[in-house]
């Protein structure tokens, strides 16, 4: 049998429970620290997402002649902030070594998923693609390639699933701008594919079903917007960029130089004449 003796006095029992207290305190304190760190990550990640939306819908800046330049600027600014978040992860990764990671996975999960949302949004603006599991894990590792902690498939998928909501916002706020209609259609196709891919994962991951429902709603919103665009542009037999020009010049002549892409003031009569020019 065991060499140790059983406990038969109050003092022996108290001593053992003293040990339990220290153990539980240590665990609870660590958990609290990690929850706080996770909140910091969430905070910064949300800022990145807002930053991306802000830059992509900012028409006033003269340096963004086209969408590509704007996207490049957004991505570059975002990457700096993402690096900050990655450093945060590095900072508390020592608390998640070995078997500890799974003990505290739920504490860091919310922040991690928000980070993945910000990261994948940036990646989409840069490449038009969905970031892979391995690429995400790579951002969560040091210069030598050691992972800060293992990336769970659940967190990867759940973080990615939230991306479709941001893309919906991006698509819809793009529409009033130059080239926005084409953009909306692109995003629509992309989100539709995402939804299809994720459908096969839902049986395995509990919270994914709810997120799929949100994705479906987002997709419908983009589809409705794309429909409106298609119906209206069919009424005018003009190329989409010309339509965008017409709309933006109408906006600027109605409200002055502060709104819309054009800063030139034009009276309605001049707009009509210019529109007619393109008709032959």
């Amino acid at each position: 049998m065991s060499k140790q003796t059983t406990l038969n006095t109050r003092s022996a029992i108290i001593q053992v429970f003293d040990g339990f207290r220290n153990e539980l305190d240590d665990h609870n304190d660590r958990r609290e620290r990690l929850i706080k760190s996770s909140r910091d990550v969430t905070n910064l990640s949300k800022k990145v997402i807002f930053l991306l939306h802000r830059i992509m819908t900012d028409d006033a800046s003269p340096e963004d002649q086209d969408d590509h330049a704007r996207a490049a600027r957004a991505v570059s600014k975002s990457r700096d902030k993402l690096k900050e978040i990655q450093n945060l992860f590095a900072g508390f990764s020592h608390e998640l070594q070995g078997e500890r990671f799974w003990r505290y996975q739920r504490a860091v999960s919310p922040g991690l998923q928000e980070y993945i949302e910000a990261l994948s949004f940036t990646y989409y603006l840069e490449t038009g693609r969905l970031i892979s599991y391995h690429e995400v894990q790579k951002t969560l590792s040091d210069a030598e390639g050691n992972n800060y902690f293992p990336l769970s498939v659940e967190d990867y998928l759940l973080g990615l699933s939230d991306l479709t909501g941001e893309l919906m916002r991006y698509a819809i706020s793009s529409i009033p701008r130059r080239g926005g209609r084409a953009k909306a259609n692109e995003v629509c196709a992309f989100v539709r594919n995402c939804k299809a891919d994720f459908e096969s994962f839902t049986p395995y991951i509990r919270d994914l079903r709810k997120k799929q429902n949100v994705t479906s709603q987002s997709l419908e919103k983009i589809e409705d917007a794309a429909y409106a665009v298609a119906v209206r542009s069919s009424e005018y037999d003009l190329p989409p960029e010309i339509l965008d020009d017409l709309v933006s010049r109408t906006m600027s002549s109605a409200f002055g130089g502060d709104h819309g892409g054009s800063t030139r003031r034009k009276r309605p009569r001049e707009d009509d004449q210019e529109g007619m020019e393109y008709n032959d």
């Binding site: 339990f20 799974w102 391995h134 998928l157 395995y204």
Partner: protein
């Protein structure tokens, strides 16, 4: 999602799913064993003290056989993933702790330590990151032990044993003193800890009853 990524994710999900099934099978086995032990141990409430050792001996082999199950589960769990899967077998493990500590109390009137219970259940120290007896599971087992002993205090008297409630009272008070030292969060452990005071009250009432009627032995042991 590009196809390489899609394949990878699908493979990971499949693997996890299969592993979950295998662990579930082992947990079902574990559960059968602990239920059998609990069933047998229920008889203590109607077994005279003299016949207790025989009853406890009958439970012993089943307790022994738990070693196979803990070994099988430890074999399945990937390295460092103890905390990922432990909820699957928590209930069975806590019941096993309960049975082991109850048997020891009935034999010697003392409390098995966590390492001792681990040993009895065949849990190897090198399995630390895959299968271990966590403090919270041990503590839950102990609370079940106290719940059971408060019942035993009542039934012992019915069986004509007037010493047992006194022993139980001292033992349970010691345990409770230990529990009050913990800083508990508002979780399941805290809620069950709160129920301990009712067990203590129940036991005290039994002690009170037999003391007043001078049923309890007057001198020491």
């Amino acid at each position: 999602m590009d196809s390489a990524n899609l394949d990878f994710i699908n493979r990971m999900l499949e693997q996890d799913s299969e592993l979950r099934e295998k662990i579930k099978d082992q947990v079902t086995e574990f559960d059968k064993k602990t239920r059998t032990m609990t069933g047998l141990l229920n008889k203590i409430h109607s077994t005279p003290t003299a016949q207790l050792p025989l009853l406890l001996d009958s439970v012993q082999p089943i307790l022994e056989s738990c070693k196979e199950t803990t070994g099988a589960i430890a074999n399945l769990v990937p390295a460092n993933q103890f905390w990922r899967w432990k909820e699957m077998w928590s209930i069975s493990l806590r019941n096993a702790v309960f049975s082991a500590t109850l048997i020891e109390y009935l034999r010697s009137g003392t409390l098995l330590t966590l390492p001792q219970v681990s040993d009895i259940l065949g849990i190897q120290p090198e399995w630390q990151d895959k299968f271990t007896l966590a403090a919270e599971d041990y503590l839950h087992g102990l609370i079940s032990l106290v719940n059971e002993l408060s019942r035993l205090a009542v039934n012992s008297v019915t069986l004509g044993n007037y010493e047992e409630p006194l022993r139980i009272s001292a033992f349970v008070k010691d345990l409770f003193a230990g529990f009050t030292m913990l800083n508990l969060k508002n979780d399941a452990l805290r809620r069950r800890y709160d129920s301990l005071k009712y067990d203590i009250k129940k036991i005290e009432e039994v002690v009170y009853d037999i003391s007043l009627r001078k049923l309890a032995p007057v001198s020491g042991k």
